[in-house]
Structures are given as structure tokens and as C-alpha cells.
């Protein structure tokens, strides 16, 4: 199955490990990765700041870049949710409306793609330790993806998953909010970290790099021994033992069959 990766501007510039892990994970599951070089940004920083015209130019570039893709997969719930908004923003625009609908329909957040399209929950990953999962707001509330990341993490070998108290609360990132309203954002991230402290986790896992930069940047400033990981990095933790390779082959075969089935429809 050919998958076009929308890596997001944040990962491209600041968090490439999450991008690498996404590529390796999807390849291990039998996908062929295509990376359209013309991709830039989903437009959200401008859109959320009220610069709709500027945002639309970025969005058009996204639609051009992914015009030929079958599936667009992105390791970010927030950016996926933005792309899903395109049809709404280009409604009534004869040139772009249909293109916006097409891109929105074929775009998936990574964990959503794994669970809903590839039908995989056990990706054969293993990571020993105690972890808590940060549910990002746009991924859960706007994109509506709540279960997929948890199902995947529950199947990670050796990983003890503990629920995060007040998980529904925003970490205080909010894009430009984090700098425009810095002192408020700081209080929000501090409260998030206090809850992370409560569960005594080795890892905080998330599916959105904005939140992870925010939580991770604060954890680092405070000098806390907690590792912040993108879910793609966790799912890509993989030992090379023989038994695993066989399992991988089986998963790959299953995925290929699923892919053929879906494309044939």
C-alpha cells in the first residue's frame, strides 16, 4: 500500500525523530512511503491567528502537493484536524472546493490509520517502563480520535500504561497562544506536569508535536527525569529478535491484503 506522508512543519524542523519513526513503522507494516517534497504546512498557525487569507495559500499548496496521493498519513492529530476543515473553508470556491473535499477524505492521523485502515493494534513494539498518555485536544475533540492511540499503546510489550489525572485538560500549547499568553500557558503546562508527576511515569507519550514541545520544553527547564516521546517513536521501539521478524512478516501480509481489499473497493 502506498502511503503519502504529511510530516508537518514542526516535525520537519524541530522533531524529525517522530518523522523517522513514522516512516520506519509504516514500512515495517508493509507500506511504501512517498514523501511529496512540495508539502509545507497545513496552515493552522495563520488560520488560528485570524489570518485566513494567508492560511488559505498554505492550504492550496497542501492540496497541490498531495493531489496524487491515495492515503495521506500525518503523525499529528491537530494538523489532521486542520486538513479536515478545508472543505468548510473552501466551500463555494469553484476552483478548490472539490480538491479540499478529496484531501480531507483521504487524510488520516497516524494512529487512526493504523487502527482503522490497516486494522493493526499490535505493531510488535516493546518498551519497558511506566508511561502515561497525553490526549491532545484537537485530536480528541476536533478529529474525534480517542481510542486508537490507547489500543496501540496497550499492546506495546512491557509498557505499563497509567491514566493521567485530568487528562481532558489542555497542556497550554495552543500554537501562538503559548507565546501571546505566555504567563497563562505556563500555569497550564505546570498543572499538566504536576499531574504527570502524580503518576510517577518514566514516559509521557503524545500524538501531537505541539503539545510535546510544550510539555517537553517545560520538563527540560525544570530538570525532571521524564522522557517525552511521540507515539510513533514508542511504536517503533522494536527488537530484532527472530520471533519478532516472523510476526512482522505476518503483520505485513495482513496489511498488504487489507490494502488490496480497500483499494479494490
Amino acid at each position: 500500500m502506498k502511503v503519502s506522508l504529511f510530516v508537518t512543519c514542526l516535525i520537519d524542523l524541530f522533531y524529525k525523530e517522530a518523522g523517522k519513526a513514522t516512516v520506519e513503522l509504516l514500512e515495517r507494516l508493509g507500506c511504501e512511503i512517498d514523501f511529496p517534497e512540495a508539502q509545507t504546512c497545513c496552515g493552522q498557525p495563520a488560520y488560528n491567528s485570524g489570518y485566513v487569507q494567508e492560511a488559505k495559500e498554505a492550504m492550496k499548496q497542501m492540496m497541490r502537493a498531495f493531489a496524487a496521493a491515495d492515503y495521506v498519513v500525518t503523525p499529528s492529530g491537530s494538523c489532521a484536524a486542520m486538513v479536515k476543515e478545508y472543505p468548510h473553508l473552501f466551500r463555494g470556491d469553484p476552483e478548490w472546493e472539490d480538491e479540499a473535499k478529496r484531501l480531507a477524505a483521504k487524510t488520516y492521523e497516524l494512529t487512526q490509520f493504523l487502527v482503522d485502515v490497516l486494522n493493526v493494534e499490535d505493531v510488535g513494539a516493546s518498551l519497558p517502563g511506566r508511561a502515561t498518555y497525553h490526549t491532545s485536544c484537537h485530536m480528541t475533540r476536533l478529529l474525534g480520535v480517542k481510542e486508537a492511540p490507547l489500543r496501540l499503546l496497550e499492546r506495546v510489550n512491557g509498557l505499563e500504561l497509567v491514566p493521567l489525572p485530568n487528562a481532558h485538560q489542555c497542556c497550554g500549547f495552543g500554537g501562538t497562544f503559548s507565546v501571546k499568553m505566555g504567563p497563562i500557558s505556563e500555569q497550564m503546562v505546570d498543572e499538566k506536569i504536576a499531574h504527570i508527576d502524580e503518576v510517577d511515569a518514566d514516559y509521557v507519550i503524545g500524538a501531537d508535536c505541539g503539545c510535546l514541545l510544550n510539555i517537553g520544553g517545560r520538563i527540560e527547564r525544570l530538570g525532571k527525569p521524564i522522557r517525552v516521546m511521540h507515539i510513533a517513536e514508542v511504536l517503533n521501539q522494536h527488537s530484532e529478535k527472530e520471533g519478532n521478524d516472523n510476526a512482522d512478516e505476518n503483520r505485513k501480509r495482513a496489511v498488504l491484503e487489507t490494502g488490496r481489499g480497500k483499494l479494490a473497493k
Partner: protein
């Protein structure tokens, strides 16, 4: 109390409130307890999303046919012997009510909770003609006797005060001598207020929902104060925002259930009262004269705009109760009697951008408000619309932001410029970076690095890694 709270510029308000640990603890406790309670009654009702859709449909339908229902309401109020006054502005509403007070030679006026009378700043108008105006909702009462401390929450106005502070206010203002036990405090307030009800000439109420088909008004309280305000004085004046209307009892029942569940996590409140016109012959109590004042005060100019959904609001404060920004800065930071997400959307519409231009930005757009709203107001989207107007029409955006967004547009619309710009980023940030981290950033990064590290852009972007890997054909 007018809509605007005079307590300095936005950042001064926020910084003061961030220091107020008592207030923040009270708000966080209220939010956390309320969250669990609200989910409990939602679960118990079942099919919550369908109820929300129905409630939204009711509100939308009413707003789309508002002229019809207002006409029906006013005809039915008049048929039952009541008087209806349409006030275009706050002044018109206040003038009308003042005229009644003068005509009745009113000395004492008792009021039940009403946001709209605060919005139009009614009390000082009545006090200026010598009336003694008494707020009877316990929270409002506490604030009123404490030299008109502004409300910090649309449902629990005195949320920012603890029982010791309330005891001190009672001692100072009412000669109270007992403890800070809430039962004793409440008893004292009840005894004091009872005398006021019995001697009041006029009772003034707000209105949760007016029912067009019957000309009735609905009042929802947990204290029963609205019932005394409407049962004892000879004259009753009800003041409502022009959008607070439902077609029939059937829709009222749905919305009351959504209101009480969303506002306080209760199936029903202790008192839900429906009143129709003045007292009939043979009625044991009720006013001899009933006036309904329907207030526009800027609402009709929201109708028909992209902000129309804000008029769906039933003032339950569910959005306030889940807002992580409100949680830390509290209600007074908003500088408006309408605080939290609904306040951030409504205050600039009713009070203008000059006073409220920061409020649309006081949100991380986490959409907790939109998710909680029982009538499906897309609150976070309306905040983005405000930002758009501030940028495009009001010209109030900072110059540096405008430049940054111009650069964003150039860089993201052109893949070659994007590649070029992002290639340069590591050298541009190099002077600020140390071990791949920026600890004291320039420009907008400065605010970030006040409290957080920021990763320096690495020399190898993801796309470079991917490109090299494909060229080498060597997965690493």
C-alpha cells in the same frame, strides 16, 4: 454593575489574578467537582449528543423566527393583563423601569438573579431616585453588600470568595456576630432578606426562558428567592434579553433540563417556576401588575451575522466550568460580567473591541468549551472569527505578527521558498542555541523560553534525512 468591570488593563488583571491562590484553588475545585457531576447527569440521561442536537435545533429555530415568537409572546403577555416594553438600548430599559418605580413611589425593590440587569446597569439608576435595591440571590447579595464587588462567574457570582471572607463582609456590613459556618451564614442572610421581601414594593427578576405560546416566564433557582420576589411585592418587572425565548412548554422542558444538568450537574434545580401574567382573581399571591421588559442592547445586530450562534446561549456556564484559561485567571480577568469562553465571544460583540480585544486570544482553542456547550455554540470557532476581524477589519494586530504572517504566506505557498527558508533556520538560530536547545529566544520565542526550552532547528531536517535515505537506498 455595568457589563464592563473597571479593573485596569488586561495584563494587570491577569497578573493580579494569577497571584490569587485562593481564587485559583476555589475555581479549580469547582471545575473538578463540577466535571464529575456533569458527566454523571449526562450519563444518567443517556443519548447526550442527540439531546444537544435537539437543543441546538430548538435554539436555532427560535432565533430564525425570533420576530414571530417575540410578537406571539408579547400578545400573550398582554392578553393575560401584563405590559410589554421593547427596549432597544440599556437606557430605554432603565428609563422604563425607573418610570414605574417613580409611579409606584417605590422605596424598596427586591431582585432575583439577572445577568441582563447587570449588563444594562439598572441598580444605580434606581438607587439614584432613592430606592433601596436588594439582591436576593445569595451570591449576588454577598457581592452587593461588599461594596459591589463584581461577579466572577455567571452562575456562581461569588465563587472567588471563601466563607471566612463572607463572614467578614457580614460582620462589617450587617453586624453579624456568628461563625463562618455556611449554615449560620445562610440563615443570617435568609432572616435579613425575609424582611426585605415583606416590605418590598417592586420585585425584579431575570428570565431563563420566556414561553411564546402562553406568555409565561420561567425562573430556575436553587434558593427559592425568585419565588418570594415574584409572590410578595405588588409589582413585578421581569427583564429578559430578546433571545431568551422558546416556542412552547415542550421546548422549555428540554432546555431547562439541559440548563440544570450543564450548569450545576443537577437533574433539576430545587425550584423551577413558571409564571404567567399578574395575579388572577382567586390567586393566593402574585403581583397585581406585571411588566416584561425585552432588551435588545446590541443583540439584533448580532442576528444574521456569523456570530448569530452566540445568541443560542442559555447562560449555563458549562463552557466556563471546563475552560483551562478561566481556571487559572478567574472571572475578574475578563473585565466583563460575562467571563470564560462565552464572555470572550460575547463581550467584544456587546462592548466593542477597544475594551475587549485581548479576550479572543485568551484561549488555547482547546475546544473544551465547544464540546461542553449544551446548545452546540462553536465557541472556539467564534473566537477565531473575532481574531480574523481584529486582523482584517480592526487593524489591531501587532506589526511583528503581521510581518510574520506575511512571511508565513510566502514560505508556505512556495515549496522552494519553504525549503530555502527552513534551510537557513539553523544558522539564524545558531547564536541563541546551546546543545541543540534555545534557552533565551529572540522575538516571539522569548515568551516561550521564559518558561520552556525550545529545540534549535537541526541542520538535517526530516526531509533531508528522507531524501538522503532514498538516494542511498540504505534504511537507517
Amino acid at each position: 454593575m455595568p457589563m464592563k468591570i473597571e479593573n485596569g488593563p488586561f495584563w494587570k488583571r491577569v497578573e493580579e489574578n494569577l497571584q490569587n491562590n485562593f481564587m485559583r484553588g476555589a475555581v479549580a475545585g469547582m471545575q473538578d467537582r463540577g466535571y464529575v457531576r456533569r458527566l454523571g447527569v449526562i450519563e444518567e440521561l443517556g443519548h447526550w449528543e442527540e439531546w444537544r442536537s435537539l437543543a441546538e435545533q430548538i435554539r436555532k429555530h427560535t432565533l430564525e423566527n425570533l420576530d414571530y415568537y417575540l410578537m406571539q409572546l408579547s400578545e400573550n403577555v398582554a392578553n393575560r393583563g401584563g405590559h410589554v416594553f421593547f427596549a432597544r438600548t440599556a437606557e430605554e430599559a432603565n428609563d422604563y423601569i425607573r418610570r414605574i418605580a417613580l409611579e409606584k413611589q417605590a422605596k424598596k425593590i427586591v431582585k432575583s438573579k439577572s445577568m441582563v440587569t447587570e449588563e444594562i446597569n439598572l441598580n444605580p439608576v434606581l438607587e439614584a431616585i432613592g430606592c433601596d435595591v436588594v439582591e436576593t440571590d445569595l451570591g449576588e447579595y454577598i457581592l452587593q453588600i461588599d461594596d459591589h464587588d463584581p461577579p466572577s462567574h455567571i452562575v456562581g457570582p461569588a465563587l472567588h470568595k471563601n466563607k471566612e471572607q463572607i463572614r467578614d463582609v457580614f460582620r462589617r456590613k450587617l453586624g453579624y456576630t456568628k461563625s463562618s459556618d455556611p449554615v449560620e451564614l445562610a440563615r443570617h442572610a435568609r432572616e435579613t432578606l425575609r424582611r426585605d421581601y415583606l416590605t418590598a414594593d417592586i420585585g425584579i427578576t431575570g428570565c431563563n426562558f420566556a414561553i411564546a405560546e402562553s406568555g409565561s416566564i420561567t425562573l430556575v433557582t436553587n434558593e427559592g428567592n425568585a419565588d418570594l420576589v415574584t409572590a410578595l411585592p405588588k409589582t413585578q418587572i421581569t427583564v429578559m434579553g430578546m433571545e431568551r425565548i422558546v416556542p412552547t412548554f415542550e421546548e422549555m422542558e428540554v432546555l431547562v433540563s439541559m440548563l440544570t444538568r450543564s450548569a450545576v450537574g443537577q437533574k433539576l434545580t430545587s425550584y423551577i417556576t413558571v409564571l404567567t401574567g399578574p395575579r388572577d382573581e382567586g390567586d393566593a399571591d402574585g403581583p397585581e401588575e406585571f411588566h416584561l421588559v425585552i432588551v435588545d442592547n446590541g443583540r439584533s445586530s448580532i442576528l444574521g451575522t456569523e456570530f448569530q450562534p452566540v445568541l443560542q446561549c442559555i447562560r449555563c456556564a458549562a463552557c466556563v466550568n471546563v475552560c483551562p484559561v478561566y481556571r487559572h485567571i478567574g472571572g475578574h480577568s475578563y473585565g466583563s460580567i460575562y467571563s470564560g469562553p462565552i464572555g470572550a465571544v460575547l463581550s467584544p460583540l456587546l462592548g466593542g473591541y477597544d475594551d475587549y480585544k485581548e479576550l479572543p486570544y485568551a484561549s488555547s482553542l482547546c475546544a473544551a468549551c465547544t464540546e461542553a456547550c449544551p446548545v452546540k455554540i462553536p465557541l472556539h470557532e467564534l473566537l477565531i472569527k473575532h481574531r480574523q476581524i481584529i486582523v482584517e477589519q480592526e487593524g489591531k494586530a501587532p506589526v511583528a505578527e503581521k510581518l510574520a504572517m506575511k512571511a508565513f504566506r510566502l514560505g508556505t505557498a512556495s515549496p522552494s521558498l519553504y525549503r530555502f527558508g527552513t534551510k537557513l533556520a539553523p544558522s539564524a538560530f545558531a547564536p541563541f542555541a546551546e546543545d541543540g536547545r534555545i534557552r533565551k529566544g529572540p522575538g516571539p520565542l522569548k515568551a516561550w523560553t521564559e518558561s520552556r526550552e525550545f529545540p534549535a532547528p537541526s541542520k538535517e531536517r526530516f526531509r533531508d534525512w528522507f531524501h538522503n535515505r532514498q538516494k542511498g537506498g540504505n534504511p537507517s
